[in-house]
């Protein structure tokens, strides 16, 4: 980065490696960090250092954690007979925020996407099968995304789990709350009709 001091140029070179950050944004961020107090800038540096130093993958569920096993795996109040399989950590966060699931998780670290070079061997599927074989798990919920790659991944895992004899389920799919029927696709409507549920008498 010519024209800048060495330190400023180095910082910009690092910032430009971040997703969605171009040269102009890197310059803006670098000058912002130059302006803020040393304390604030150091707090950012410490946060990045701590993130890299303290964050690891849980050896049981492959979720990101600061301890091994992670907080969820070591929580004795969680239901240890149900395992929810998700593609990535952000899915765990979304399900936890919904607050209705109290079982354990297994994070695949992706989904089968051969066009991107991601095959079953690149994921934590064999570790999942081993985990289920150990016993104690009665149900595995395959909560991969309901799209082509997510469905292929779920079906592949279901096949692999077949010999283990556990109940394998997939979350219900259909009309999202807050949507309008006229805007949703044919597939969503057909899924919603297939998975329709009875309204219990007297619930209105």
């Amino acid at each position: 980065m010519s024209g800048y001091t060495k330190s400023l140029g180095n910082l910009m070179e690092e910032l430009v490696k971040l997703p969605g950050v171009g040269k102009r944004s890197a310059e803006r961020l670098a000058f912002h960090l130059l302006r803020v107090s040393t304390e604030d800038a150091m707090a950012l540096a410490r946060a990045i250092r701590d993130l890299k130093k303290n964050t690891r993958l849980c050896s049981k569920c492959f979720n990101i954690a600061e301890s091994d096993p992670c907080g969820i795996c070591s929580d004795s109040r969680r239901d240890r007979t149900i395992l929810c399989v998700v593609e990535q950590t952000r899915d765990v966060i979304a399900i936890e925020e919904a607050g209705t699931y109290s079982g354990l998780y297994h994070v695949l670290q992706g989904r089968i996407a051969p066009l991107e070079g991601i095959t079953p061997e690149s994921l934590t599927i064999s570790q999942l099968v081993d985990r289920v074989k150990v016993g104690g798990i009665k149900e595995v919920i395959l909560a991969t995304n309901p799209d082509m790659e997510g469905d292929v991944t779920a079906n592949y895992i279901a096949e692999q789990l077949g010999p283990a004899g556990v109940r394998v389920t997939r979350p219900a799919r259909g009309l999202p709350a807050g949507s309008q029927v006229e805007y949703v696709g044919k597939k969503i409507i057909s899924d919603a009709f297939e998975g329709r549920q009875q309204i219990p008498p007297g619930s209105g």
């Binding site: 089968i112 051969p114 066009l115 070079g117 095959t119 079953p120 061997e121 799209d147 082509m148 790659e149 469905d151 292929v152 079906n155 592949y156 999202p176 807050g178 949507s179 309008q180 805007y183 949703v184 696709g185 044919k186 597939k187 969503i188």
Partner: protein, 251 residues
């Protein structure tokens, strides 16, 4: 204002571009390969009826931008999702392989309605649960024809002399196919004449017939090898997907 255009297409690649948008690659009937921005496609109420899935096929309305700029997908109504592809890794991988070949072997603006119809037919066949390995070979033979590199049958590619009706013949991919005894170099790869006939049969087969074709076990490895070598030569690499397909034991 840039004109709105309409065509039929199916999605072969997608990348989430922002919290609400995607960059998608479609293989279309009237324009061939097309890369577009689907603004707002990840919103629940979008003109594309939600996130665009791989192989979602239907009518698309787009704003054509100047060459070198991404077109904008204004509307997309998926009519077919080829659900059957999701049920088996072999069927899905074969469809991904078709997508990879289209992405690698065709160019924007290089339209072929016949190739588009064949691809849609092939996806239907795979989704119906037809044998993935033979279906894929039918597609490969057809696609090689589309690329202009389908192996010649019956005549030597050098001297146009007739090839023997049986036995083995020399085959040099870089020279365009089979060679007679006089033209073939001593170290040429040798294939049974019958395998060339099978490749020709695969090229002529319709997508619907793909699931009913059977290939003699002794010719099968040669047919597979001819298609792989020709594809590698035409696309200047061995398709990465073939490696995955072998891993899931499609062949």
């Amino acid at each position: 204002m840039a004109p709105l255009r309409k065509t039929q297409g199916f999605c072969i690649r997608r990348v989430d571009f922002s919290e609400t948008s995607q960059v998608v690659t479609f293989y279309t009937r009237s324009e061939g390969l097309m890369r577009l921005v689907a603004k707002g496609s990840r919103r629940k109420k979008s003109a594309t009826q939600g996130r665009i899935d791989l192989f979602a096929c239907g009518e698309m309305v787009y704003i054509q931008k100047r060459p070198g700029t991404l077109n904008i997908l204004a509307e997309f109504k998926p009519e077919e999702l080829f659900d059957g592809l999701r049920h088996s890794l072999q069927q899905a991988y074969s469809a991904f392989y078709i997508a990879a070949l289209l992405d690698r072997g065709t160019h924007e603006g290089q339209a072929s309605a016949a190739c588009y119809d064949f691809c849609v037919g092939m996806l239907e066949t795979l989704a119906s649960g037809a044998r993935a390995d033979v279906s894929r070979m039918v597609f490969e033979a057809h696609f090689l024809d589309e690329l202009g590199v389908v192996p010649q049958v019956g005549r030597c590619v050098e001297c146009s002399g007739a090839l023997p009706g049986r036995g083995m013949v020399g085959y040099v991919v870089a020279r365009g196919g089979p060679l007679c005894r006089e033209c073939a170099p001593d170290d040429a790869w040798r294939v049974p004449v019958g395998a060339l006939g099978v490749v020709e049969g695969l090229r002529r087969a319709s997508p619907a017939a793909a699931g009913r074709i059977s290939i003699a076990p002794k010719l099968r490895p040669f047919v597979r090898d001819i298609l792989t070598r020709c594809m590698g030569h035409a696309l200047e690499l061995e398709p990465k997907m073939l490696q995955y397909l072998q891993e899931v034991r499609c062949d």
